[in-house]
Each structure stands twice: as C-alpha cells, then as structure tokens.
Symmetry: C2
Subunit: 877 residues, 2 copies
C-alpha cells in the first residue's frame, strides 16, 4: 500500500489546491507550472499539519521520507546538495495557510548552513555574505524553534556595532559576523539547553515542526477568531531553495502590486532594496526605493522589464490584481510569491471597473470583487493619512467618517453654536431622543457609554454622521463642562477630532479629506442595479435626508420615524402638553398644534421622493422619552401649561417604566390614545393632498409599529382609513396609500397569517425583533455581548449581523404565513440590518421585496443585493 501523500513538488500542484497546499504553496505551484522563474521547492500539506496535531504531535508516517525525496528533487534542479561543503543547497521554510494570516506564523531562512557548509557558501560568494546568512539562521532558528529570547541576539549585534562605531547591520565586517555566529551558538546552548543543530536534516525537521506548532500559537488563534477562520484548517509548510538578493549590487529584493492598492491605478506599484534580503524590506532598516527606479539601475533594468511582463502575465492569469514578492540574484529575477492583493475600497472599485473595461472580467465578477463594507470608506470624510493627531482615547467606531469640532455638552448649546457658524462635537455620557436636534447640529457625536447599537450609534449612522461611542476612558463632567481622560482635561470649546472609522478621539484639529464619490463607483453601482432583484430604500426622517438618500440610489423611504420631528424647536412643548393632558380633549388640543408642523415635514419628504413610496411609521417610543427630567424644565413646562408643577412631576414618575423597551409604546400608544394616530393620519393625508395638488406623485405607506395581534392593527387601520375617507371626500380627490405593520415581536411573526389580513405590507423591524427573540436589550448587552462574540458563543453581534437561526427563522415563518394569507403582500426590512451585507443577502434569500438602510448605507445595500442575486456566499466563511 502506497503511503499517504504528504508532500507535493511545486510542479505537481496548482492554484486550486489552496485547501491542501495553502495559499502560498498553491500559488508557487501555479507560477511554476506557468513557467515563471520560481526557485524550486515543495509543499508539506495542511493534512500533514492536522495529522501532526491529531496524532499527539508526531510527524505522520512517511512524511519525512517524502520530504527527503522532495529535497533530492530540489538538489537536482539546483545542481546543489543540502549539507554539502561545496555548492551547498540552502532552503527557506515558510508557513502558508488557506487564508492569509500575515505575520501570524513563522518563517526560517538559510536552513542548511553549518560550520562546514558556510565555508562552501563563502567560497561561492564572500565570507561576509556567508556568515551574515549563518548568523541570521541561528538567530531565527533560536527564536522560532528553540524559543530563545530574540533580544539576547540583538544585544550582541548592538555590542558589535557600538564597538565598531557603525549604525547598520550591513556595515559589520566578516570577522565580526564570524565571531557573532559563535556567540549566537553560545546563547542557544545556554538558553535552550541544547546546541544549535549542525546537521542540516535536523534543522529542516525541527523547522517543519516549528511551523506546524505556530498554527496554534496565541497570536494565530486570536487572528483566526477575529477573522472568522476555522481552527481546523491547519497550515502547509513550503520548503524552497534559497535565492539571494544580498549577494552584491546586482542583487535586489522587493514587493510589488500589479496595480496601486490605494487608488487602483493601473501601473506596477511597489518598492525594492538593492543588495538586501526580504526581511530587510519589512524591517524598515533601510528605506526602499520606488519600484520604477529599478529601471534606472543598469544591473536591474532587465529584471525590471521581466517583472513588468510577469506582473501583466500573472494578472491575466489570475484575472485579479496581484501582490508579488521577488528577488534578483546576480541580475536574475526570481518570483517568491504571488497572491491576490489587498486593496482599499477606492482601489477595489476602480480595479473592478477597469478590469471590466479591459475585458478581463465580467460585470458580475466586478460586482463580486468589491466587499460592500469597503464602500463605507468611500462615503465619509476620513482622517488625512498623511497627518496624525494625538490619540487621547479610543472608543467604539460607531459611525464612520472623521470630523473636527469644538467640544460641547448640551444639545441646545450645540444647536446654537452651529447656527452661529461653529463646528461642534456633541459629547454626552449617552444620548437620548432629546439630544436629536443637538446631534443634527453637531459634526459628530462622542459618548462615554453605550454600544454599537446605542441610541447615539444608531441615530448617528442614520444621519451619516461620524460617531465614537462607549469611550469608557473619558470622564464626562457636565457640572464642570469638561472631559478628563488620564488626568488630562479638555474644557468646553476646545477642538477635538473624531475618527468614527477607528474609534479614535484626537486632540485638536486633525485635517480630514472629503469623500470622493468616484465615477467608477457610480458605474459599479449601476451594474449592481442591473443584477439585483431586491429593492433598496432608505431610512430617512427629514426632507434633506430623503434627498440625500435618493441621490445615493434609494428607491423610496422604508422608514420615516415621526418622533424625531417632535423634538425640534417648540414642538417639544406641544408634545409635552399632549402627554401631560388628562382628557382626550386636552390631548386633542395639544395635537392640533403639532398637526400643521407634521404636515409640513411630510410634505417636504413627499416632494423629495416624488414618484417613490414613503413609509411613515406612527409614533413609537415610550412617552417618557419626551418629558423633561430636570426640575427646572418641569417647572417651566408647568408654568407654560398653567398647571401645578406637581402634576407634571407626578406624570414624569408615572410614565417611568421598569423595562421601557417592553412598555407602553408602539401601537399601544395609538390604541390607548387614538387621537394621536388620528392626528398623524391627518398630517400625512393633508400633506399628500397638498403636494399632489402641486403635481407631485405621492405614495404614502403608513406603518403601525409593535403590533402583536391583528386586532391592534385593525383598530389603528380603522382610524387611518376613516381619516382618509373624510379628507379625500373633503378634498375631492384620492391618494393611493397602503397600511401595513412592522413585524418586530415574535408573536407578530408567528401570527403573520392573521395579521396579513389587515396589512398590505410587512416591514421587519429587526432591531426590536432581535431584542425580543434573544431577550437582549441593546442598551445593556455591552456587559456580556462582546464577551459572547469573543468566545464564539455567538458568531456575530446579532445587532450588527442578523441572527439567521433565531430571528431569521421567525422572519421565514412570517414570510411564509403572511404570503399564505396575502400572496402579493409587500415585504421589507427596516432595522439597522438593512445596511449589513450578510443580512441583505438573507433578505434576498428569504424573498423580501426590499431592504431599507441608512442613506449612507444605501450604496452598500445596492451592492450587497446584487451580490446576493449573484449567489455569492463568501461571507459564509
């Protein structure tokens, strides 16, 4: 019986074998077979790595024999021998997993050197070079295989440099390097309790084991957790003949991208160092030169030309931008690695669109090449990467983009200062709906408390405004009107800069750059629109947001929250009067003040969305949120209403709830006080009739929140339909409208068949549905949810990525039951998930008609919807 195959020569593999050979190994094999100049070598498979761990850390049967056979092949190709005093073969040993885990695992170079073979190498090149390679081997081997403290070696090097008065390693003469080798060996013997192995085969065997072991080092495990990479893939090990970029002035080493990874520009991009080894580029000891300067160097000119040609060949071959590593040894080019290059969002878009235009890939492929989340970068101002600010503290990156402004602690003050032309940043312990106008006025929002889905985060994202939340290092002192952080005090009025994409809070005014809504982006999104079947709407509460959303491609409003409107200006007083009212008549009087204001809001939104549907949600939040909390405000309100402050106080206390999320809110308000719904219906139809008279095509869709029983919807619908009939009759014209409901309670999902009888559409409110299905308050989950995600108890934060198994199951049930009663029911989603690519994919799969996202996430949703239609499932990794 033939032994299991653990080892593949490069020429026996190909790019499809990433699972078995790892990414690096598969690409080295591919390049070899394409005929590129790759130093010969072989790959020990990921299966071998897994077998090593499952068999209790023993190399699997037959592996070593296959390694020796591979080595013999390399010796033959190179005309060198491993361990030979003459023309010794040296090899590198590198890890290479299926998914790139940069810097996480270990590499050892120059294996094969010992006191005998070093002489052979010295004879071929020179003594300085040979001993430099030797000391590097001992250093790397000592650190990686024998776990010797790396600083001990560095101390020796520093000592030599100090003694000689030189600054750089490469200035050390051969003699010092020779002595250093002995000193390094002594360190190894002392620290590891065993001598550095002189036998090259022992070196190789130990190096392979060390790479296997590095798969399970702490760093690698953490990286896999953070990136959702399974732990059972294992790493391959690549053993490859060494080539040298440091054998003289006709040698060089470098890295290159076939296109610019920051901008996407189609031009070889990269850098190189002459007379250097690969690590030197990374280590940053010498400053590398831009790659195009290779053409100016007569020793390297021809290699450069070849590199350019190979770059183009590889790009055509892989049909994507490549990230290359190369070495030039004595004028000869060697390719050491190719892989798909990482790129910024801007580059991803540009490259994808260019490649379609070049005929390299199809439009569908272009769409699949850009991660929807990458678009985020393109749609917000960012910190100028050429500048840097002093980072005071870091919070959660709640809403992307960067902004600079003066610190202010109060919403009213924020508004006043903004109106006076200042840029302000609203800083709060946490925000509530009362802060809405202040958030609207501020350039950005910073809170000390709250998570990624706290009020501040959700509202800021909705506004497309940068926000950093849960920045626990900040002590926000409203009394003294200052922030302190680590003993440092920032008083009101001082400038800070927030980076909502990283969570950084910086001192002073750090320059930002404005987003480029690139022509290529428009092209890509237009292609996406050709493929997607899912509609994309926006969550927008103001005419400005609505207009912006439309500009970004929204095909309607999926969620217009009416409550934010009540916080503006003097509306809050009327709203409070409405809440304090003790009879329906008093309540109607207060509502009558609000009605014309709401009507104007709606008219503005209808105009902005001329021809498109606008989904308006009736009043949703618990009334307590609208009431004043400070005693001053209470007294003022009582005065303006001409009543006893104690009445107001009592109402504030009476409306306080133990669990407001599950309290008297949503349609429960409209059921117990139908005059509220009536007023809102009057405002909606009044606005619709008004703009229709102006020639605007208006399509209101009225949405009832927090329905748990069809009877609730029937009662609210009755009010709305009655108001419509009355107003249409009075106006002598009709406006087409729909009435539907949010599905945001498990009971509503389960009883969707009954509810559909009264609903022309369902909009899944996945924020609340997630809260109720998982029994998780998004305001409180910060104490354990991050731990849950870290520990893998939950794969994702369910407020960010829709929980398909739980919440998704309820959605599936609701879709199925809803359609059973009303086959043509319109189905959408208006939770925060509407802007999350994985959730958009789910919505597509489950057969919804549309998703609704924050305006600035509309492009993301468009792209994600197209990818979903193309059946992409890379996010399932």
């Amino acid at each position: 019986m033939a032994a299991h195959r653990w080892v593949y020569l490069f020429r026996d593999g190909n790019a499809q074998q990433r699972d078995l050979l790892g990414g690096k190994g598969a690409n080295l094999a591919e390049m070899t077979n394409v005929g590129l100049p790759v130093p010969p070598g072989f790959t020990v498979t990921t299966e071998a790595c897994n077998a090593y761990f499952t068999s209790g850390r023993v190399l699997p049967e037959g592996l070593w024999e296959q390694v020796l056979a591979g080595l013999a092949d390399v010796e033959q190709q190179m005309g060198r021998r491993f361990g030979s005093a003459e023309r010794p073969l040296l090899v590198s040993v590198r890890s290479g997993a299926k998914f790139s885990m940069p810097g996480m695992m270990d590499t050892i170079l120059n294996l094969g050197l010992n006191d005998v073979t070093v002489a052979g190498l010295a004879a071929e090149a020179d003594a300085r070079f040979a001993y430099d390679c030797y000391r590097r081997l001992i250093q790397m081997f000592g650190k990686v295989v024998l776990d010797v403290d790396a600083d001990l070696f560095e101390d020796v090097i520093d000592e030599h440099k100090r003694r000689l008065g030189v600054r750089h390693d490469f200035e050390l003469p051969a003699d010092d390097l020779r002595r250093m080798v002995e000193e390094f060996k002594a360190i190894v013997r002392r620290e590891a309790g065993q001598p550095f192995p002189e036998d090259p085969h022992d070196q190789l065997r130990a190096a392979i084991v060390a790479v296997f072991e590095s798969w399970n080092n702490r760093r690698a495990i953490d990286y896999r957790n953070a990136n959702g990479i399974p732990h059972d893939l294992g790493t391959a090990v690549n053993v490859q003949a060494m080539v040298y970029g440091n054998m003289g002035p006709d040698c060089a080493t470098g890295v290159a991208f076939t296109r610019n990874p920051s901008t996407g520009e189609r031009r070889l991009f990269g850098e190189f160092l002459t007379n250097a080894q690969g690590e030197d580029v990374v280590a940053g000891v010498r400053t590398p030169q831009p790659i195009e300067q290779m053409a100016d160097d007569p020793h390297l000119r021809s290699a450069y030309a070849q590199l350019q040609q190979i770059a183009e060949q590889l790009e055509r071959h892989y049909r994507d931008m490549q990230d290359l590593e190369f070495t030039v040894q004595n004028g000869t080019l060697y390719m050491l690695q190719t892989r798909t290059g990482k790129r910024t969002g801007a580059a991803a878009v540009q490259i994808a669109v260019d490649m379609v235009n070049e005929g390299l890939i199809s439009k569908a492929e272009a769409i699949q090449r850009v991660q929807p989340s990458q678009l985020d970068q393109l749609l917000h101002p960012t910190i100028d990467p050429k500048q840097s600010g002093e980072v005071l503290a870091t919070g959660l990156p709640a809403s992307p983009g960067a902004a600079t402004g003066q610190v202010v602690f109060d919403a009213d003050e924020a508004k006043a200062l903004a109106e006076a032309g200042h840029d302000v940043i609203l800083v709060r312990l946490e925000t509530s709906p009362e802060d809405f106008h202040g958030m609207l006025a501020a350039r950005a929002v910073l809170t000390a408390r709250g998570g990624m889905t706290s009020h501040a985060a959700v509202v800021a994202r909705g506004m497309g405004k940068p926000a950093v939340v849960g920045c626990t290092a900040l002590q926000v002192d409203y009394d003294r009107q200052q922030i302190s952080v680590n003993g440092r005090v920032i008083p009101k009025g001082d400038y800070i800069t927030l980076d909502g994409s990283t969570g950084a809070v910086m001192l002073g005014r750090v320059p930002t750059i404005e987003p480029q809504v690139h022509g290529h982006l428009a092209t890509l999104l237009a292609w996406a629109d050709e493929f997607r079947t899912l509609g994309v709407r926006a969550n927008a509460d103001t005419p400005e947001d609505a207009a912006k959303a439309r500009e970004l491609g929204a095909e309607g409003i999926g969620l217009c929250r009416t409550e934010h409107m009540f916080f503006q200006g003097d509306r809050i007083s009327a709203m409070r009067e409405m809440i304090i009212a003790s009879t329906p008549e008093e309540r109607r009087r207060a509502l009558a003040k609000l009605e014309p204001m709401q009507r104007e809001d709606f008219a503005g939104i209808f105009r902005a969305m001329d021809g498109l549907p606008v989904t308006i949600r009736t009043l949703d939040p618990p009334l307590h949120e609208f009431l004043p909390h400070s005693d001053e405000e209470i007294v003022e309100l009582a005065k303006s209403m001409g009543i006893d402050p104690d009445v107001v106080r009592a109402k504030v206390v009476a409306l306080k709830e133990a669990n407001p999320m599950l309290g008297h809110r949503g349609c429960r308000l409209g059921i117990t006080a139908p005059e509220i719904t009536e007023m809102q219906a009057r405002a909606i139809f009044g606005a619709a009739l008004q703009v229709a008279a102006e020639g605007v095509s208006v399509h209101p869709e009225i949405m009832i929140p927090l329905v748990g029983d069809v009877e609730e919807l029937r009662l609210q619908r009755e009010v709305i339909d009655r108001v419509a009939r009355e107003m249409f009759a009075a106006a002598g014209r009709t406006i087409p409208y729909l009435v539907g409901t949010m599905i945001e309670l498990p009971r509503a999902a389960l009883l969707a068949d009954q509810i559909a009888a009264q609903a022309e559409f369902f909009s899944f409110g996945t924020n609340d549905l997630t809260q109720t299905t998982l029994g998780l308050s998004r305001d409180d989950a910060g104490r354990f949810l991050p731990y849950y995600v870290e520990q893998g108890i939950l794969k994702h934060d369910p407020f960010q990525v829709l929980d398909r198994e739980g919440v998704g199951e309820l959605i599936r049930i609701a879709v199925e039951r809803g359609r059973r009663t009303r086959p043509d029911i319109k189905l959408g989603i208006c939770g925060e998930h509407g802007g999350d690519p994985s959730s958009v994919e789910f919505c597509h799969q489950v057969g919804m008609n549309y998703v609704s996202a924050s305006p600035f996430r509309v492009p993301i949703a468009r792209l994600a919807a197209a990818q979903a239609a193309l059946g992409q499932s890379e996010r399932d990794v």
Copy 2:
C-alpha cells in the same frame, strides 16, 4: 313555502335547545314535557332576535302571526282570553339567553291589562289586587319599553304612602291604586310623548321588541365582555301565562336550590314569601322565610311536599343541583324556572362527590363539575362572611386569602416584629427581591403599584400568602411611615385586614375563617389523580414550602429559585461582596461563604422531597437587585468590605440597566462568571451527597435559565458535570442527576433541536416567554393591558392565561423540535401558568410531562390536569 319557525310552544321544545330557545325557554319546555306544573307559554327564538337586528330592527316576517297562534294555544289551555273583559289572560314577557345573564335584560309582567280587562281581573280576585297588577304593568312598561325615568313612578307611590302614613306598598288600598294608575298613565303620556297602549296586542308586540333591544343595552354588552360571551347569540323571549303568588294567603312565591349552594348539603334550600309576586323576593321589601317553613303553613303544606318531590325529580332528570323559581297560586304549585345552580367551591366539591356516592354521576363527571379555580377559595383563609369591615380601598386581588396584621413598611422591621410574635402586613410601593424575607415574615402583602404578575403578586402566590397589589388609591409615605387614602391616615402599627380574593383593604381587624381542607376535596383530588396523565410539581424555594407542596399532592419540585436564599440573614452581605468583587479570586472568596448556606438549604429541600425530583435553577436575576440602594447601606457595605464607598457606588451605577429584564441575568451571569455556577453546583452535589448518606433518595435536576443558544448550555453544563465528577470521586458515590434548561426566550424555542442535544429536560418559563414573545414587560403592562383585555383586543391577560396562539405556538415548536433530537426529553412548565387551568389544559394537549405550580395551586393543577385528560373544553367558551 312555509314561513320560518320563530316561535316554539313550551311543549314543542326541550332542554337541548338552549341555542335556539335560550336557557330559560329550553328548561321551561323540558319541565313541561316532563309533566311538571308549568304555566303554559311559548318562546320566541334567539334566531328571531338576530333576524330583528340584522334586518334593521324589524320583526321578521311571520313572527307576529306565530306569536298570535302561540297566544291562542295558551288561551285555550288556560280557558282565558287575551284582552277579554271576562277571565282575561295576562302574560309575562321574559328574556332568556343561552348563557344566564342575571339582571342584565328586561322583564315585563301582567301584560294584557287595560281599563277594560282590569275590571275582569278585579271581578275574579279583588280590586286591590287587580289595580296593583295594573299599576305594576304601567310602571314596568313605562320604564322598559318607553324609557321613562323609574323615579317618577316611585315618587308618586311615596306621595300616596306619605299621605296615608303607611310604610309598605302592599298597605295601599284599592282606591289609591286606582288613582295611581291614572297618575302613571299621565306620567307616561307626558314623558314618552305617547299614551300607554290600551291594546294588549300592542303591549305584547312592544314588550317583545323591548326584550330584543335589551340584548344590546350597555349593561348586557359589558356583562358579555366580562364573561367572554359572544355578542351574536341573541336572546330568546318567553311569553307565559301569568300565575299569581299575591292573590291571598294561600298564595306564595319563592326560589329554591335542590342542595345548599354554600355548603353542598343535600337538603332543599331556599326562601319564600306568602301573598307576594316574584319581584318582591328580590326587592327585599319584606324578609322572606326559610323554605322549610312552608311545611308549617297549612295553605302551603301540600305545595311544599310537591315542591320537594319535584326538586328531587328535576335533580335526577338533570343530574345536577338545580336552582328553581316557583309560585303557589291559591294552593296550587307552578314551576316558573329551573336551571343548574351556581355554587361555592366548597359546595361544588361536596355535591360532586356526594352525587358519585349517590350513583347519580360518574367520577369523571364529578371531576368535570368542579371548576379548578373554585378550589382557590378552599385553600386560603377567607373573610368571615358574617362580618364586615370598612373597605378603605380596593386593589388587585393578587393572591387569595385574607389576613389581618399591623402595618409595617420595611422588610427588616417586618421580620423583627414577626419574630417578636406580631402579625404584620408588609406595605410597600412595590416589592423587590430584597423584601423577600419581610414578605416571608408578614401575614400578607400590600402594594400601591404593580399588576397581577408583579414581584409582590408572584412571590406572594408562591408563598400562598394573601396579597393585594396595585392599590393605586393608597399613598404610601415611607418618610412619615404612614399610608394615606382619601385624606385618611393609617400610621405604622395600626391594624388592617386584606382580602386577597377581592382586593379589599379594610380598616382594623376583620375576623377571618380558616380554610377547611374538606374530606370531600381529598376524595375528589384522589379521583382526579386516577384520570390525569400530566404530572404536577410545585415551585418551592424552602424546605417548608416543599413540605407543604408535597402535602398538597406535588410529585416533585419543578422550580426551586436559588436567589431568594441569598436575601436571608447575613447572606446578602456575602452576596454583595461577590458582586462587588473585581477579580475571579475575590469573587470565589465571597462565594465560598455562600456555599455552605446554600448546601444547607438544598439539603432541607432534598429531605422534604425524599424520593421525588427537585429542579434547581441556577442564579437568575440581574445582580443589581442584590445591591444596596440607600447611601447608608452603601457606606456600610464598603466599610465591611474594607473598600472605598465610591467603588461600591460606581458598581451600583454600573450595574443599573435600561431594560433589566433583557439584561445581564440568567445564564449570562454564569457564563461571564462561571465561579457562580461552580459554587451552586458544589452546593447542590454537596447537599445531595450529604442527604444520600442519611438514606434520603435524592434526584436533583439542575436547570439553566435564559438560554438562547446551545453553546451557553454546553458551557454551563461543562462546569456542572466537572464539579459532579470531582465531588462524586471524592465522596466515592454517585448521585443520579439531570441537567436541563428553561425555554423562556423565543430563540431557545426555535432552536430547541440544537439545545436538546445538551438538555435532558426543558422547563418552559412562560412568564419570561410571554414577556419576550409579546414584547410586554409585566411590571409595566398595567398602563394598557387591562384596557386591552376590557376592549377584547386580547382575550385574556397573557400573564394569567397562556397565550396559545403566540407563546403556545413557540411551545409547540420547541416540543416538536426538542423531541426530534431527544425523543425522551422531559418537558414541563414552571411559569405562573402552571397553576392556571386553561394553561394546564394546553400543557396536557401539547404533550408535556408535568406542570409546576405554586404549592397552593397544586390541587388546582391536579384537577385541571384530570379535566384536560377527560377532554373537557368548557373553558373554550
């Protein structure tokens, strides 16, 4: 084509036709056919009533002709003529719906009288009698048919009485009555704008219409809403020849029950009035005599003997206790009504058991004859019905039973006073787990806030202690240590009496009577146990409760909450230290103090439940509940821990949650701090090993709360299994135990197939499952839920009666999916619903293994489970 049949003569109907003839009509028909002396008559059907309303309030075609035909039949049987001057026929017109709606609809007597016929009647009897009947007719007709203010007639009567100086109506002479007729007619003419109709046919027609109309009067609609009676049943109308109990001393009228409706004693029970009409008994003008005194009256002796014989005949015929109405006219007995008699819980049990012993009904029927909720009355002390106290205010009847004690506002003080031998009643704005020891010490609990499922209500029911909650009229002033209600002040130390069955709060010490655990009840429950297939366990947290539950028939503990134990004595300090701890080590140190205390608690419960399973839930509530809130307490705690009070203050603030119900609680505590679960497991297994060594048969079932993902359960189970292994190894013996989970989140129900892989049992926590499925906080729902139930938006309070459509659907899903993975998984319910009959029925239908209820509801659950097994579904009405 024959006209639709709208009218049935009594002799043409039978008792099965309740839908068509109403309860009264069907029973009059049945009695007629059995040969009992029923005055002849006929019934206008419920269909006629419905047809009247659906056709726009017009009598349906053919109805009047059939009424006239029925009238002709009655005339013939009576040898009298309707409207005749000689031997005039008079009739009564009475409503009669399918379900009894006592006093809700209208009745008119003596129809057929006018200025002509009254003379005929006078000739037969005497003028006083005839004019008395006539004035009664005008009075009733005026009020019921013509909507004349009844007080106007009463004023006239009072005037006559004043003038004559007499006290009672029956003292008015014929002349006055004759004049009164004229005066009444004048009132009718003036008030109704039309004369009293002299034509008897007009009277009859108008009376039938008036009874139809009374189906939809406000009172009747409210009654139907309150009692869950559909609005589309309609009422029948019974037209019957009048007989008179007021024609002389050989006349009488009365009501009787075939057995005592309070005690169940087998003996004719009732009362009568000589020379009176039926209304006189009800009106209470004269005091009726006990029924057995009829035997002492020579005029009535024979009628009484006949009545006794008829009572027995009807009981045998209907096989149930009957509620009878009769009239004796000139020595002749007439039966006017029979129906199944309402009875107290005690009577229901006694009658059911007696009837089995008498061979009248089967055991299965006996079980079905007692409403489980009626047992409640038998299991708690009650206010002595012979006494009455001054009712200060009325709250929600949260936990049945009555108790008297001194008002106290603080849990510690309650405990101290109780230990000093005082009876105290703990009065709080609302209670929290910190008040547990005070509730335990008090005789009863009174709160100003909270609903039927508030903390106070739930805990009091669990303890079997009377409670009145949500008594909003009370102002509880902790500072002044007093209650005030409507200006009246009750200081600390004053006595009050609570009736937890009615919600009454009474001043002073109102005598109560102790519950009789009747021999008949034991018999009935033993029969119930023969029929039921559903197990019944109890929710009990102390050895005392466990013992009581066992005495009441519990077959195990379905829910032992461990958190209450932490509030007793000095445990709370150790608990607080555990919470304040900043490292796992500190936390372990504090937990080590709690462990021996918990072990002792568990040992006591295990001993009490020797041989039966005990389900112990690991720590569940948010930690905030355990922390001190007053600054004094905070300082004290800090001092005892030797730390800065600010550290404690910060922790108290940090643990505050926006929605604690959805916060860091349940297994989330054990996941983030596994040392808590470990300590609890050590206490459980330590106690189990200890009592097992004493020879106790111990069966712990460890239950993990608030699981939303199988991974949570797996991690907690890992801790428990490890502790078990270690402790069993150390002790050298093994205890059989199960690990399971609560299903109280929608996600857990949906993912039950995955969770079952790690769970040996599921216990449905329907309190929390109701909160999450409906998005309803039981602490806050008081503001709208009562309105929802009143308006019929929800049929029942879902915290009292399990919501079958929503919560029930999730349970069905979980049962099906859980069993798919683990066919022998044990399934139970431990929410408050475990003691609700309708919910028990659901649990039976869905195939659970057991329900778990508060100790005092165990008998109710046993009976309900037997009824469910017998397929009873009367509660579906």
